[in-house]
């Protein structure tokens, strides 16, 4: 795995709890509220106190923790493994869904739609001047949005090479069910989203450089 860093976070800005917190609670992806996204700090934040819901994540005071994609991958894997009950995974995913900024209706354009999914997914892929890939995604399914949030957290701001290196198998635990998903199917919407992220990343690099090998190098 390449060790490209994701230092140029765009909203949502993410980090994790400091390592010593792991002694108390399982590792949990944390979210720094984005003031430009009222949905994440107003009504949606109410769900955090729901009796069935997960412990609310504490907004980190210093959210500049820099993680490699490989480290994030490990955190995601641990995150899902720490939730053996499907209902807890669904709750966690719904929480993440609430943190994902929605597209405006005008942003849900057909050209950005990820086809082949049981739910509708729209994916926006750009390439910034720092050489990092930027992703935005939205869906009409809340569970799918939860998965997409994880993908965004993992890959937004990463180097193109890191994006292309991720394999579905690396995220085998990222599933509602307790059985790891080992085969791609129409149901596994996030598989399609990941593949679309990679395909469009490659296309953008090709368009910009003509030769994908240069910017893909770590």
């Amino acid at each position: 795995m390449n060790s490209a860093t994701a230092t140029i976070f765009r909203p949502p800005t993410l980090s994790i709890l400091p390592p010593n917190s792991y002694n108390l609670t399982p590792p949990r992806i944390q979210y720094k509220p984005n003031q430009s996204n009222p949905r994440t700090i107003s009504t949606r934040s109410l769900q955090i106190s729901h009796r069935k819901h997960i412990t609310p994540p504490h907004p980190p005071e210093h959210s500049t923790t820099t993680l490699t994609v490989a480290e994030k991958l490990q955190i995601l894997d641990t995150e899902f493994k720490s939730l053996p009950e499907p209902i807890d995974r669904v709750k966690r995913l719904l929480h993440y869904a609430s943190l994902l900024p929605e597209f405006d209706e005008s942003g849900r354009v057909e050209s950005d739609r990820v086809t082949g999914c049981t739910a509708q997914v729209w994916l926006e892929v750009t390439f910034d001047v720092e050489g990092s890939m930027r992703f935005r995604v939205d869906s009409d399914s809340e569970i799918t949005k939860g998965f997409c949030y994880c993908l965004i957290w993992l890959l937004d701001g990463a180097a193109a090479g890191d994006v292309l290196e991720i394999r579905v198998d690396d995220l085998g635990e990222m599933n509602v069910g307790i059985l790891p998903i080992r085969a791609s199917s129409r149901v596994n919407t996030w598989h399609n989203v990941l593949i679309s992220m990679q395909r469009r990343t490659k296309a953008l690099i090709m368009e910009a450089y003509g030769d994908p090998s240069l910017p893909l190098l770590p």
Partner: protein, 467 residues
């Protein structure tokens, strides 16, 4: 409004074709209801009246071992995805097992004992299919990989040699993708034009519009018998009459009718009819095409290879008669034999009995599901004259069907389908991208419906609590 067809037709006299000893090895279907373990004590047993009627669902469930399991977090499995595929009774599993254990061999040209037996059983399966749908002769049955391949066979073989530019094919927007896409491909090759029938306000295909669309330009009408999403039933007899009046042929996608009701191809008068084994208690990997013998005889081969030839020379070949002409290569022998066993099983119960039970179950499902707040069920409302198939496609306001299906599965062990059910044009017409679908079979019970609805209410409450 349409009514169920073919329900009072005579049952196929398939039993005359079968070895009279065949059933003696099978468990009787009568009263095989086994009480739950907790009710096996004498006290508990008293709570069940001796004369309590046992539904078809209860009496057949013991034949389906797969249904008696817990899934995910220990929930009892409630399998309601039968329109996608049915479960297989032990009689079918045993038949396939027996084939591989006892007489696995290639068919038709082996001179040895095993090949002769495999050939006998394979051809017996063809005769069982023919009798089941009341075909005139078994050579009118072509085994295919599935119904999709059967449709493609007609498209490429009959279509390529009978259609020319501006000829018209009439279909409904409610067709399964496998009954749309082959004709789109054919249209690109031949210049034939596809004409689509939309729905009425009652959300059934508009048969009046279909009648008006059928003209002298029409060469083929392709329709489903029972809709896999709307649960509606088309009046095939009338459609065949309209088509034949202008010299057009009719192909019926009977994947959702053959497993659930008496289907008599001679009574319906159809030219082609397709169905799949796996939706009617048989194995996957085999389906069939029924074609009138004079049509099949005039059709060129679809795929080339062994089995389908008469003589092969280096520069040309001559082809076998139907059905072999259309069965290139080694067929799915064990699967076809399994399909034959499935037909034995269904016929022993009786297709009329299955249909009657499912009509009752369909009404119960529709009424129960309709009580869930915010639910929208697609297709016609049931009435004295409108009998829906035992399935409901639906949406719940504000929830994505895939989220519903995921939670029902993980938290309640209820298996339903979500998505477009291979009917995207229909979904688009209804203004939706996806729907959830609960589809029943004769081994389902009203308790299954209750479990599903209870689970759905909990699912809706769960997601709404996050809003």
């Amino acid at each position: 409004m349409m009514t169920m067809e073919g329900v009072v037709l005579k049952l196929p006299s398939f039993t005359q074709l079968m070895n009279p000893n065949h059933f003696t090895n099978r468990t009787s279907l009568n009263f095989r209801f086994t009480f739950p373990k907790y009710s096996s004590s004498s006290t508990a047993s008293l709570s069940v009246p001796a004369a309590a009627p046992v539904s078809l669902g209860h009496s057949t469930r013991p034949d389906f071992e797969i249904l008696h399991q817990k899934v995910n977090n220990g929930s009892k499995l409630v399998y309601l995805d039968n329109a996608a595929t049915s479960q297989k009774p032990s009689a079918v599993i045993d038949a396939v097992n027996n084939y591989y254990r006892s007489y696995n061999s290639n068919v038709h040209r082996g001179i040895h004992f095993l090949s002769a037996r495999a050939t006998d059983e394979y051809e017996m399966a063809r005769r069982k299919v023919a009798a089941f749908i009341n075909a005139s002769e078994s050579s009118e049955i072509v085994f295919t990989r599935n119904a999709t391949e059967a449709i493609n066979l007609v498209a490429y073989s009959w279509g390529m040699s009978n259609l020319k530019p501006k000829d018209e094919i009439v279909l409904t927007i409610a067709e399964h993708h496998s009954a749309i896409v082959p004709w789109q491909l054919l249209s690109e090759k031949t210049g034939a034009v596809l004409k689509f029938v939309s729905l009425t306000e009652d959300e059934v295909p508009d048969t009046k519009m279909l009648q008006e669309l059928v003209s002298k330009k029409t060469k083929l009408v392709v329709v489903h018998h029972v809709s896999n999403m709307l649960a509606s039933v088309l009046p095939i007899n009338e459609i065949v009459q309209w088509a034949h009046d202008v010299g057009a042929k009719v192909l019926v996608d009977a994947c959702q009718s053959v497993p659930h009701m008496v289907v008599d191809v001679q009574n319906l008068g159809v030219d082609f009819l397709v169905a799949s084994s796996h939706k009617m208690c048989g194995p996957t990997g085999v389906g069939f095409l029924y074609g009138k013998s004079e049509l099949l005889a005039a059709m060129p081969p679809f795929l080339g290879g062994g089995e389908m030839i008469s003589d092969v020379f280096l520069d040309h070949s001559t082809y076998a008669d139907p059905p072999s002409r259309f069965e290139a290569g080694t067929p799915a022998i064990g699967e076809a034999i399994g399909l034959g066993a499935a037909i034995d099983y269904l016929s022993e119960i009786g297709m009329q009995k299955i249909h009657d039970y499912e009509v009752d179950l369909a009404n119960y499902l529709y009424e129960s599901l309709g009580t869930v707040p915010g639910v929208r069920i697609y297709g016609p409302a049931p009435s004295a004259t409108v009998h829906r198939a035992a399935l409901c496609s639906f949406n719940v306001e504000g929830l994505h069907p895939t989220d519903i299906a995921t939670f029902l599965d993980q938290q309640h062990g209820v298996a339903i389908r979500s998505g477009h059910h291979c009917a995207q044009p229909l979904h688009r017409y209804l203004g939706i991208n996806a729907s959830a679908r609960a589809s029943l079979y004769f081994y389902n019970t009203k308790e299954d419906v209750d479990d599903f609805v209870r689970g759905l209410v909990d699912t809706v409450d769960f997601f709404n609590s996050f809003k």
